[in-house]
Symmetry: C3
Subunit: 372 residues, 3 copies
């Protein structure tokens, strides 16, 4: 399958749709557009919430927020991963306020209504005297959930298309990286004062790299990019490492390879609509989750994943990769914030994309399929 | 009169209206509903603002905020307690910005217009030259004010029904506690991120006590509640003290009894629509004032009142009671905040009240008489 | 020309239009009115942004915000002062985020598009391959700019009336103060929680001085005011110094005189619609710039200007003046904030101006020519 990610014969980075321009102002500042996005994208599409190894044992759970809704993602007693709205069916109380943990059941902190890990109401004091009350009517509200490459996705729609269908075009494409087996060594959260789409557009081109990322540019030249996914919800390709062996502060590998590659000097960058960025290095995978909070604010959760056996070895230096990308992330979020500020001007108008910005232009086209 | 508060022959706690459910989401999150409440409830009903002993001498005043309006509550030179809008009639300047104090007159800090304690404009430099100007036209705007059991209530309506009429159903009911003579030993303010109605509903049942208040439950079992006011704007009853002599950290009395009771092992809890909670213990009275700031935020002012002679005695340990209820208050506000969070979910729908929640259900019914 | 500012034969301070009252509440609290002001006043009139000596050399620039728009004010290579919207024509990025500096060109921090100091796009990597792209179409958006007495004004309108026309009524009136040659020794910014119009009304009368400014009143009595500009966009007059030689903490002069005056014991105070206050002392000029942020919030930038030769002299004590007015400014902003609070009350209604408030009344009349 690795041939899928090999460079295509034509350099797609040289092509940009004639007259392609950045999005109109309203997409970055309008509360109405933001509401439409929350409804038509984040409430109806498959949204990344985490990795299966975060909840390895039955009873492990974590909390995630999608489209303003707090969800409990839990591994039940049969080891099935499930998601529920974090809301008691009695008087609406938030059930869990910690961000993760382990529990044998989900008990409401207010009046002690108790739910099994599969969502069934199993305890409700003094309710048996209420005429017509039946516990079976008061299970937790479930949320559709699916796994792809070890990653957990949820969908708030009533009857979403299956996750497998959505990811069919990527079947096998990432199997070399063994994503389901990797473990996160570090998570860093960023609170960015910019519209979420600016981060996608930023991630999708390296036209900005010479000025914004001098450290990155030394290891991996901005013009080494070759894209193989150039239209649709999955976009990206690879860039070459021309100096050193990985993207780290030292330029050296910092961990066991996550897989067996023909060429250890390429980094693959893919954006997965609507909230995921996947950056695959020879020795680690970096995963960004985006959570839009308002037109002008986005939370970004970044995780660094390594081979599970790497953790025990003496040559394991995850901080070498983490520090590199934490620095690079902050450089990116900063220019995204500057863009947000300028786009709010009455004089802003969509500007012309260069030939190095074909992927942002493709991402915009995909986005506009969902929002009017 | 004490027979009024004795347990009725039937256990009202066992009765909940068939199918009674918690209020719909909009009552907890809608700015429009909040505006309607501010208008129809807090601007037209009698609202608690303090106790007469806070302003014992002529010239003493305190500031209170009702329905977004800052009010000066002052004892005038004839010892009458009055309330005025805290707004100069010249150019609208806020007159007093401290929270309480003593003054012989109310002088505007901007241009020195001066008002007597009864609200008359008595000084206005350089205004005599203005044709047609008459000081008599520029008294402070007064607010209707009344006293009940030593407590001060105001009403922002133009022509409210008399306070005596409103409180007629409670005539004499609380005389054993000598409320007009009590003095506050401590005030604590809480800033709660929850709708004000959640605090009323919380106060009105002890179904939540076993899980939320382990310390309280040891002294006073949740199932010892007996209610005598079960419908209307005044709701509540008593609970028994089955261990110790009062609700304190030590379980012992902490002050002189506030009155002479037949039974010293009962705590009486009453909610007074729309912003008052009155908790009567053998040795102290606790008073909560609620001030809604937004659909999701409420200030709560809590005072602990004791027999005025208790303050001089060596066995006076008010902190024993204060610490107990400060702890218990915080436990309550916390679950109210969790409720606010969960109720905002798209999946929240009114849930069924248990047989232990007849008073919250009655409170909701009363509330719905004011707001559509 | 100095006769222009001499006291007129009649004492205009004694005259106030019959029945003149302060503005209605909506002008101080309504977001709609604020929006109208931003559009019809701050986006269409000449607005003060600084002094030419802030950017003495070619390449010097500062950033100013007008009507929510960030502007770059820069001295170009031919020494012409220009203003541009601080927005890249590529993807809208904010170009400069520092508040002032020096640069040979304006380069975007995102993708390195580069503009000459006259606004022309001179560098745009990888854009030559884009069909139809022409740098000449992507100059920075310019803003109309003019100089009056060394002060820099901008106008966001498409085709504004010339600045010279606007200031024609003041021709020569301030030439004695040599404003174009003065240098700022200090800038202090204030963040005031009050509507911007309250600061104009406050500045326009000394009726409040006895109570609010005891220190000022000792040096310059409130009833020494004589106004010569009593109607229109330029309002004010002078007050006498009856004790000491200047408005300073010590009461003494603190610098070389800024000009040669017949009478060194007068302070001239003028408000220039819509965002400038000019206070002329024998030995310094104080300049306030107002920037409304919301109906309830205003930034105020205050500068103290001195004779450029004063800076080198041993008797130069600018802090003597700065401390005096910093104290006095804060006294003023405080009562403005109290006014803002009280005006928000439902009971506020326009109050009668006294005979000492003819200038605020005139200012209100001028303001109402712009906003309905």
């Amino acid at each position: 399958m690795q041939t899928n990610v090999a460079p295509s014969s034509r350099k797609t980075t040289d092509i940009v749709a004639a007259g392609a321009k950045s999005l109109s102002q309203r997409y970055f500042v309008s509360p109405e557009i933001f509401g439409e996005e929350q409804k038509k994208i984040f409430s109806e599409q498959w949204v990344l919430v985490g990795h299966q190894n975060q909840i390895a044992r039955s009873g492990d759970y974590f909390i995630s927020e999608v489209a303003g809704e707090s969800l409990i993602v839990v591994r039940d007693k049969r080891s099935t991963i499930r998601a529920f709205y974090n809301v008691c069916r009695h008087r609406g109380t938030r059930l869990r306020e910690d961000q993760s943990g382990h529990a044998s059941a989900i008990q409401c902190p207010y009046h002690a209504w108790t739910y099994a890990l599969d969502g069934r109401l199993v305890g409700a004091p003094h309710m048996d005297d209420v005429p017509g009350f039946d516990k079976a009517d008061y299970s937790l509200h479930p949320v559709h959930l699916g796994l792809w490459e070890g990653l957990i996705f949820v969908n708030l729609a009533d009857s979403p298309a299956p996750l497998e269908e959505w990811f069919a075009p990527l079947a096998g494409k990432f199997s070399h990286w063994n994503l389901p087996m990797l473990r996160s060594a570090k998570a860093i959260n960023y609170d960015v004062q910019a519209n979420w789409k600016l981060m996608f557009e930023n991630y999708s081109e390296c036209y900005h790299c010479p000025g914004v990322h001098p450290e990155l540019s030394k290891l991996s030249p901005y013009d080494s990019a070759e894209n193989d996914l150039t239209e649709g919800p999955f976009l990206g390709g690879f860039m070459r490492i021309t100096k050193g062996n990985s993207l780290t502060m030292s330029g050296k590998s910092c961990a066991l390879p996550v897989g067996d590659f023909r060429d250890f000097h390429r980094i693959f960058y893919y954006s997965i609509f609507p909230n995921m960025l996947l950056s695959l290095h020879p020795d680690y995978a970096m995963l960004h989750q985006l959570r839009p909070l308002s037109p002008e604010r986005t939370l970004i959760f970044c995780d660094w994943f390594f081979h599970s056996e790497a953790f025990e070895r003496k040559d394991f230096k995850p901080e070498d990769a983490i520090e590199f990308w934490d620095m690079t992330n902050k450089q990116d979020w900063h220019v995204c914030e500057l863009s947000q500020q300028g786009i709010a001007s009455r004089t802003y108008e969509p500007g012309p994309y260069s030939t190095r910005e074909s992927i942002p232009a493709a991402w915009d086209r995909e986005y506009l399929r969902y929002v009017s």
